[in-house]
């Protein structure tokens, strides 16, 4: 498991670096696939099948295809390139290093063992004998809890104790879908052919 984690993590990092280094947009898109696909692989390793598949479907299968489609429709020359000036590289590198420092200091500041115990105490240790779905628990049963949570049921939280009475993901889910609908209607409105209106 650990070696697979190393492979995927390395691929994700190297892909991300290659995105930054390469100048052709199509190659960037390819390296972005490598990077995002490896992140999906990390999700699969963490038994989060649903999140991994969503990552593949939305980012790799959807967003990147649209990106390349956009390049193909708009490019004037054969291969579109982005040239970065040294100043831009300097500024971007500086910001990147600052961000890395922030993330690193945050992560190293957390006592993982304590927080792991806290999480286990709050959510309960998963019971290996318990069979909820078709699969064993060992094989990533994240789908059913996710489905419950979207419906507003949180079986992993103790609602009676009054600590966390979150109603699940129903509200954010609905807000996101309404938001998408608004965007869709707006896009259709902007893109439709303008009809000339004769003013009498």
């Amino acid at each position: 498991m650990n070696s697979m984690f190393t492979i995927f993590a390395l691929a994700a990092c190297l892909g991300a670096v290659a995105v930054v280094v390469s100048q052709s947009i199509a190659r960037m898109a390819f390296w972005l696939i490598v990077s995002l696909g490896s992140v999906a692989g990390l999700f699969f390793l963490a038994d989060a099948d649903f999140v991994g598949a969503t990552q593949l479907l939305i980012y790799v299968g959807g967003t990147l295809v649209l990106l390349v489609f956009g390049i193909m429709l708009t490019a004037s020359g054969p291969y579109m390139k982005i040239e970065t000036s040294p100043a831009e590289t300097m500024v971007a590198g500086l910001i990147g290093l600052l961000f890395l420092f922030m993330v690193f200091s945050t992560i190293s500041g957390v006592d993982w063992e304590v927080s792991k115990q806290q999480i286990l105490a709050a959510t309960g240790r998963p019971d290996p004998d318990q069979v909820v779905g078709f699969n064993d628990n060992s094989e990533g049963n994240t789908l059913r809890p996710l489905g419950f949570a979207v419906l507003g049921l949180r079986p992993d939280r103790d609602l009676a104790s009054g600590q966390n009475t979150s109603p699940g993901y129903l509200l954010p889910f609905e807000i996101a879908s309404v938001h998408l609908l608004v965007v869709l209607i707006g896009a259709a409105y902007l893109a439709r052919a303008k009809r000339r209106r004769d003013v009498a």
Partner: protein, 450 residues
């Protein structure tokens, strides 16, 4: 025993096993890797044999349908040598890369196509429990992985440095982005009827009489099967939707500049994903590995149950699974044959017609079918007080092997509306009782999880 034949059971067998002569003990990590390699190699053979068989079938079919004389005469007995000769020819060819092409992308594109359709086989169950990865959202993962294939084709089209390839790639992108919507919606319709995204579970639910197949579950799923099949044909870019490689307009479309093995990788990917998509169609709608004949299926289920009851390896359970795999493969191959038949019979559409077919017809139709399939069980229960159209007892919701051990805990998903649409194994329980029972089971489940 784990429900998946998968890596787990092989890994368990290997874990701690001592190699006879050398005397090493196999550690867990290596046992897991060996198990994974065994699965990958097995699946790779399916992936490699599919194209060979289907290209042979395509040749023969096209020859019979269009009076082409060649394929009916050459290539050994029944022409089986032809695919082999093709393979040898393709390996010998020079691996060309045009000077104007983006060499790196040009060379990697075929692998992207091949890998994504190969990876889809990981989630495809071939028989009860015969699946490499039995993911809880297997169908979702599989569709996600299959959708990556487009990217390889777009990359090939873009990086070839040829206008024909670019047009082919662009058409492919436009076609894929629009056809994925009805594909996903149509795949959801049997999922709604089943209440599960696990392909193995969906397949297992359709045992017994062929009325249990989700195709015959209600009128909406019946139509949905045909819509799904059309969309699946389009998503494999098969004629009449093969605009990305329309040879009458675009020379060869996205693969104009390719030759030799790289060219053939595209076609290996295409034929393999035809089989994968048809396999999904036969699991979702056509009962997967079940024969659809009540007596025969009952006997096979009995064998499986016997296999599940015995602790170790059972020849009966294995035999039943082999028969199941044969049934599954023949269903999927029959669907592939229909795709071939359609390809050599219907003329190619124009690109605007392809887009109109999808956006103006298939998307609304599939949305309507989805709505209908959701409402259907409610209407049926309210009007006739029956949960299904068929008088026959329906297939068990949970696999036979699992049902005996974990009867209570593995009962239907609690929150899902009471099991109206779902097959109830217990015939003597009346509908309201079933409803109350499944709700209480749901509450139990919630409590257990706390």
């Amino acid at each position: 025993m784990s429900i998946t034949l998968a890596a787990n059971s092989i890994a368990e067998a290997l874990d701690g096993f001592t190699v006879p002569i050398v005397g090493w003990e196999i550690p867990t990590g290596i046992a897991l890797s060996i198990a994974a390699i065994i699965h990958a190699v097995l699946l790779f053979h399916v992936f490699a044999v599919c194209p060979a068989a289907f290209i042979w079938l395509e040749r023969k079919g096209s020859a019979r349908i269009q009076d082409r004389l060649g394929p009916t005469r050459v290539g050994g007995r029944f022409g089986w040598l032809q695919s082999l000769a093709d393979g040898i020819k393709l390996i010998q060819k020079e691996d060309l890369c045009p000077p104007v092409a983006d060499a790196f992308l040009f060379k990697t594109a075929p692998y992207v196509v091949c890998l994504s359709s190969f990876a889809a086989f990981t989630f495809l169950p071939f028989s009860h429990g015969w699946v490499a990865v039995s993911a809880d959202c297997g169908l979702f993962v599989m569709l996600a992985v299959l959708s990556l294939e487009v990217f390889g084709i777009i990359m090939a089209g873009y990086s070839s440095g040829s206008k024909w390839s670019l047009f082919g790639g662009m058409r492919e992108a436009a076609q894929m982005v629009s056809y994925e919507i009805p594909l996903a919606i149509c795949a959801l319709i049997p999922v709604v009827a089943a209440g599960s995204l696990n392909l193995g579970e969906i397949g297992d639910m359709q045992g017994g009489h062929f009325g249990n197949w989700f195709m015959f579950h209600d009128p909406f799923t019946f139509v949905a099967f045909f819509v799904f099949f059309i969309v699946a044909t389009a998503s494999c870019k098969r004629a009449p939707f093969d605009l990305a490689e329309a040879e009458s307009e675009l020379v060869g479309g996205f693969h104009t500049e390719y030759s030799g093995m790289r060219w053939s990788y595209f076609f290996m990917g295409e034929y393999a994903s035809m089989f994968a998509v048809c396999g999904v169609a036969s699991i979702l709608f056509l009962g997967g590995w079940h024969t659809g004949i009540l007596g025969l299926d009952g006997a096979l289920e009995g064998l499986r149950a016997e296999g599940a009851a015995s602790a170790g390896f059972s020849i009966y359970g294995y035999l039943a699974n082999v028969i199941g795999a044969v049934v599954f493969a023949s269903k999927a191959s029959a669907l592939v044959f229909v795709q071939i038949w359609v390809r050599w019979t219907l003329p190619r559409l124009r690109i605007d017609q392809v887009m109109i077919t999808c956006l103006k017809y298939l998307v609304p139709i599939s949305c309507f079918l989805f709505l209908g399939a959701v409402v259907w069980p409610l209407v049926l229960v309210l009007t006739t007080d029956e949960s299904t159209l068929w008088p026959e007892p329906l297939g068990a919701r949970v696999a036979v092997g699992m049902a005996s051990e974990t009867e209570v805990k593995s009962a239907p998903v609690p929150v899902e509306l009471p099991d109206w649409s779902i097959h109830e194994p217990a015939a003597e329980v009346s509908a309201p009782d079933v409803e109350r029972e499944s709700l209480t089971v749901g509450l139990n489940n919630v409590e257990v999880r706390q």
